[in-house]
């Protein structure tokens, strides 16, 4: 179970804009094991989507991978020529996107979009049967009829299922799911999530789930990486993360999740995410952090082990159990640069 199939090492993604270079991903490293469920958590702009796109090599120009490696099944995908990368996609690693309405081609039928990924060697009739089988596996009722449908004729949940069917057509070893439930109705979300986990077990796939929903993480994920401002700020097994969060940002995230305990106030995280072009020095979270000190903005802070299989990018881990020096509900903190 602990056999790594994906090792991301010091991945950096840069996007040149008129105002300057946006450092969307700044030195991200993590490993995903075979069959594991891994989550990338963070708010919009934290770099989690960009990380996934970098893994499959789908960063739109002028953005580009500026450094690091992505080793998948023994090959560094970053250094692979396009033809070879195309072969790895689909059969090795696949990505599904947030909004299934825009992810499906509006002028092609469901069948066409499933079968176009199947190997050309198979005769069309077999391909059709495979498509029907896949649709059945993702829980689409009456799959024969659905084959001829177009994206706009399906409901949101059905589109998401179709997208999964397409993605799993060649039984990849790794599935990247970028906020797979965000665009759906609340009632459908749970269904789709359950479907994904079931399929994952059936196919023996590893799953990287990108989400900002901690509730989902808590229920279904093995290990979590919390991202902020293009970096991983904490990385641990799920249970461990929720039991002993070792980074102020993680603490803030957990604290802002509504819980069944009605007596606990929601504590938001004050402040704004940093400017991705000009970060200033040191910890990017410092301006919003209740525990921040001068030391935090003095130098770059590396990811350090704070327990068994638990890393954090905070230098004040030992102080986090006690109350913060400033009340958490007040804005402020220390800024650097």
């Amino acid at each position: 179970m602990n056999e790594p199939i994906l090792t991301v090492d010091n991945l950096r993604v840069e996007i040149p804009t008129r105002r300057g270079v946006v450092h969307a991903v700044r030195g991200v490293s993590f490993t995903v094991n075979r069959g594991e469920t891994f989550a990338l958590v963070g708010e919009s702009g934290s770099g989690k989507t960009m990380t996934c796109r970098a893994i499959v090599g789908l960063i739109h120009p002028p953005g580009k991978i500026a450094g690091g490696s992505v080793v998948f099944q023994g090959q560094d995908l970053v250094r692979l020529p396009v033809r070879d990368l195309e072969r790895v996609r689909g059969s090795g690693v696949v990505m599904v996107f947030q909004d299934p309405m825009t992810a499906l081609n509006p002028v092609l039928t469901v069948e066409q979009q499933i079968t176009e990924t199947l190997s050309r060697g198979e005769p069309p009739l077999f391909q059709r049967d495979r498509a029907i089988e896949l649709l059945r596996q993702v829980g689409i009722p009456d799959p024969e009829r659905r084959l001829g449908s177009y994206a706009h004729q399906l409901s949101g949940g059905q589109r998401q299922r179709v997208m999964l069917a397409i993605a799993l057509a060649r039984q990849p070893a790794l599935l990247l799911a970028d906020e797979p439930t965000t665009a759906l109705d609340v009632t459908i979300q749970a269904q789709i999530l359950r479907l994904m986990l079931t399929l994952q077990k059936e196919f023996g796939m590893a799953l990287i789930l990108v989400t900002h929903d901690l509730g989902v993480v808590y229920q279904s994920v093995d290990r979590v990486a919390v991202m902020y401002a293009g970096q991983i700020v904490e990385l641990a097994a799920t249970a461990e993360l929720f039991a002993r969060p070792r980074h102020p940002y993680t603490i803030g995230l957990i604290g802002s999740v509504p819980s069944a305990d009605r007596n606990r106030l929601l504590t938001p995280i004050f402040g704004m995410p940093p400017d991705m072009i000009d970060f200033g020095r040191g910890c990017p979270f410092a301006p919003r952090c209740a525990w921040a000190t001068e030391e935090c903005v003095d130098r770059e802070i590396p990811l350090a082990a704070v327990g068994a299989e638990h890393w954090s990018r905070c230098i004040h881990v030992d102080r986090l159990d006690s109350a913060p020096p400033r009340p958490a509900a007040s804005p402020g903190g220390v800024s650097g640069g």
Binding site: T17, A24, G45, D213, S256, V257
Partner: protein, 285 residues
């Protein structure tokens, strides 16, 4: 769901204040050059545009005749410069009136709706159903050639695009809040239309002006080319090209030079149009 603080968007920044578009600058310069040259033609060249000199027929472009001479010995450059007056004049006049009329009519149609709208739009549909050049040619065919008739023909057909554009904008604008507010304050409908809605709705029509001028100049040249335009011996560009057709093998410059003038003017207005469009778009934000 965790409460998230504001979304950060990585947006390409345009830099703030509206800059003077290079297209506008170049177009403007080109305009100055050609207007200046055409107005100063008597000063710039000593040749008479109608001056025939049978010793000098069909001379290739050279030092004394930069664009050569035609089959009557007339200097082509001079004729092109005098011709600029005609084509530019028709170009401007034949768009100004359609712009004004079309915008007014279109805005009334959009604003008042009902039978006003129906009549206007049916008329627009009918006129649009006939290909532009065909209808203009037909009208000129029946009215007769001459500058006034050309203006009438183009003008009576050309207003329809403006009215469509403005009507569209007005339909959009009239549902905005400031209109309701003005009505609530008791402003008379015409006042709201002319004073408030129309100025806001007219932007796409202004943008279209520039490409319309190009269209009109090309139409005028086409009419001239077909022999339906301004009467000879006027040095209108289209007519010059038509006259030059006779001697393409031994006097190609007679037909080609006026065409370059057309192209120059066309490019000029396209650039100006791009500049105006950019300007209006930035302001609108």
């Amino acid at each position: 769901m965790s409460t998230l603080v504001q979304e950060q968007r990585i947006v390409a920044d345009t830099g703030g204040r509206p800059r003077l578009h290079p297209a506008m600058v170049i177009g403007g310069l080109m305009l100055l050059v050609i207007v200046g040259a055409s107005l100063l033609a008597p000063v710039l060249t000593s040749y008479d545009p109608d001056g025939q000199d049978f010793d000098q027929i069909l001379l290739a472009p050279g030092a004394r005749h930069l664009f050569g001479t035609d089959n009557f010995g007339r200097d082509v450059l001079t004729r092109v410069l005098y011709g600029a007056r005609i084509d530019l004049r028709i170009g401007i006049l034949a768009v100004v009136f359609p712009f004004l009329f079309g915008s007014l009519v279109g805005s009334a149609a959009g604003y008042f709706g009902g039978w006003v709208d129906t009549i206007v739009m049916r008329t627009v549909d009918v006129i649009t159903a006939v290909p532009f050049l065909v209808l203009v040619i037909a009208i000129v065919a029946f009215l007769g050639p001459g500058e006034v008739n050309i203006l009438l023909a183009i003008g009576s057909v050309g207003w329809v695009t403006y009215s469509r554009l403005v009507r569209g904008e007005v339909l959009r604008e009239k549902n905005l809040e400031y209109v309701a507010a003005a009505r609530a304050l008791g402003f008379h409908r015409w006042r709201i239309l002319l004073g408030h809605v129309l100025p806001n709705a007219v932007a796409p029509a202004i943008i279209f002006l520039a490409s319309d001028v190009v269209l009109v100049i090309l139409t005028t040249a086409s009419l001239g080319f077909l022999g339906l335009g301004v009467r000879p011996p006027s040095p209108e560009w289209g007519m010059m090209i038509s006259e030059g057709r006779e001697f393409l093998s031994n006097g190609w410059w007679v037909a080609t030079m006026p065409g370059f003038a057309c192209m120059y003017t066309g490019l000029m207005f396209i650039l100006l149009g791009d500049g105006i469009a950019d300007l209006l778009r930035v302001k609108g934000q």
